[in-house]
């Protein structure tokens, strides 16, 4: 590290007089370790003014939207008459699309619960904290595991006819295959970038791709009776 200090370190039995904190920083688990000193600015006005400008710009954009487009309002609620199709707001459309394939227990309760639990536990798993490539160690064995899992997932989705969810799974699996076959010394920058990605990156990107595809399907490709429509034809 730096030049040796001209004092001796010791332990005092009086914890109040000489408080001791010992931290073991294991390799690549804490984001703070390497930086010795940092440029700092005062929160006021440095942070506050920048945030104020950002929020002001957002408000201007929202006001412009509000002046240009009216929020929808349909007819009075009528328990006797269900509109067709009855679509949820866009952030639930992905879920509603899943409901088309799986029973409500699975699509409405099980999957969202698993997603939430999955999100919560991310930072408590070591493999998500380490920032090293998924293929850095044990590359061949890990590729075999990924292949098996991807295949099982594809079979499961095919069995339930969830063809739309199959597409992102296959795409992501293909990219993972390319990443496994690359290295930090690969010729193209793309392959080097793919190689460096962690397991948590791949899982989250798969989840993001699935959510985007399912939401897009629910928004644009579903018509009356939740039947398939081609948006450019209707």
């Amino acid at each position: 590290m730096s030049d040796p200090k001209d004092f001796t370190a010791g332990f005092d039995s009086n914890a109040r007089k000489a408080p001791v904190r010992v931290a073991f920083i294991t390799r690549r688990t804490s984001p703070q370790v390497k930086v010795a000193d940092e440029d700092q600015v005062m929160t006021h006005p440095g942070v506050f003014f920048r945030v104020a400008v950002a929020v002001e710009l957002l408000t201007i954009a929202l006001v412009a939207l509000a002046l240009a487009w009216d929020a929808p309002l349909e007819g009075l609620a009528d328990p006797m008459h269900t509109p067709n199709p009855a679509k949820a707001p866009w952030y639930f459309l992905g879920l509603q699309e899943l409901l088309h394939y799986f029973p409500p227990v699975v699509a409405g309760v099980l999957i969202p619960t698993l997603v939430v639990i999955g999100l919560i536990v991310i930072p408590y798993f070591n493999i998500n904290i380490q920032a090293e490539s998924l293929w850095a160690r044990d590359g061949a064995r890990r590729l075999r595991i990924v292949a098996v899992v991807a295949l099982a997932l594809c079979v499961f989705l095919a069995v339930f006819d969830v063809w739309v969810a199959l597409v992102p799974t296959v795409v992501i699996a293909a990219f993972m295959f390319v990443a496994a076959r690359s290295s930090a010394q690969s010729a193209s920058r793309m392959r080097r970038w793919l190689y460096s990605k962690t397991l948590s990156f791949w899982i989250m990107t798969w989840f993001l791709a699935e959510a985007a595809v399912l939401t897009a399907i629910g928004t644009f490709f579903r018509g009356p009776g939740w039947s398939w429509v081609w948006p450019w034809r209707s």
Binding site: V33, R50, V51, D70, A77, P103, P104, P123, S196
Partner: protein
């Protein structure tokens, strides 16, 4: 003019009345700027200093701040809309028509509220993905990530409860479908649905419960968790700026 505006403001800030309210007094020194933050009950949630790197746009895209900004717009427009809304059937729907045609600026406020709601849901998801992809959830920030997931759920529930309030076809059937999904929870499903709706059907009781949830319970919960979220940022060492030299960088990955 002989004295500039800044001198007038400085004199104001130096006055006895001002000093009795805001202790910081006039001045542009770092001490003064530090006092502005430290001696304010709301602002001292934040640290006095921040790492400069963190303020670059490319680091966070300011998504967290924008999410909070859209929340503020929603609270303000929401409170104003509450003044012309009766949470009863079928007055709720006629009130929506009133807001559209009769109330001055009614259409604007309702539109602003609706689009800000969509924006907030979009921004909260974007914020979550940005935090994930730059690794800002890693220790010591893991619990703040959990608080963030909680805030995501609160945002979705706020949006869902607000969706029913116009009492139009869209609202009614969206909630009918949603409450039926809730009843699919094993063992407790029917009870959850009964409590949620205040009955067996989506009717006046359901509207009132969703109104109280949307305007009182969930916003208070959100503010509670937002305060914790900001506090944890500070106590975990400030916003994560990404270490400038990592082993990954040395190996030429980025």
């Amino acid at each position: 003019m002989a004295k500039s505006l800044t001198t007038y403001l400085d004199d104001l800030r130096d006055s006895r009345v001002w000093r009795s309210i805001f202790r910081s007094g006039p001045g542009q020194s770092n001490l003064h700027h530090a006092l502005v933050v430290q001696s304010n009950v709301f602002l001292h949630l934040f640290s006095v200093k921040a790492r400069k790197r963190v303020l670059d746009f490319s680091v966070t895209w300011y998504l967290g701040a924008l999410t909070f900004g859209s929340f503020l717009v929603l609270v303000i427009t929401g409170v104003l809309l509450m003044l012309y809304y009766h949470p009863s059937v079928p007055l709720a729907y006629t009130d929506m028509k009133d807001l559209q045609f009769v109330v001055s600026s009614g259409v604007f406020l309702r539109n602003l509220h609706r689009w800000s709601a969509h924006a907030m849901v979009l921004l909260v998801f974007a914020h979550m993905f940005k935090v994930f992809y730059r690794g800002a959830y890693r220790p010591p920030r893991e619990f703040n990530w959990v608080i963030g997931v909680v805030l995501l759920l609160i945002t979705l529930f706020l949006s869902y409860t607000g969706y029913l309030l116009p009492w139009d076809q869209l609202a009614f059937w969206a909630v009918t479908v949603g409450s039926n999904i809730a009843s699919a929870v094993p063992v407790f499903g029917r009870h959850i649905r009964f409590l949620m709706l205040g009955g067996n059907l989506v009717n006046a009781n359901a509207l009132l419960r969703f109104y109280v949830l949307h305007c009182m319970i969930l916003p208070l919960t959100a503010i509670f968790f937002i305060a914790i979220h900001f506090w944890r940022i500070r106590k975990d060492g400030g916003l994560y700026a990404g270490a400038p030299t990592t082993v990954a960088e040395k190996e030429g990955e980025r």
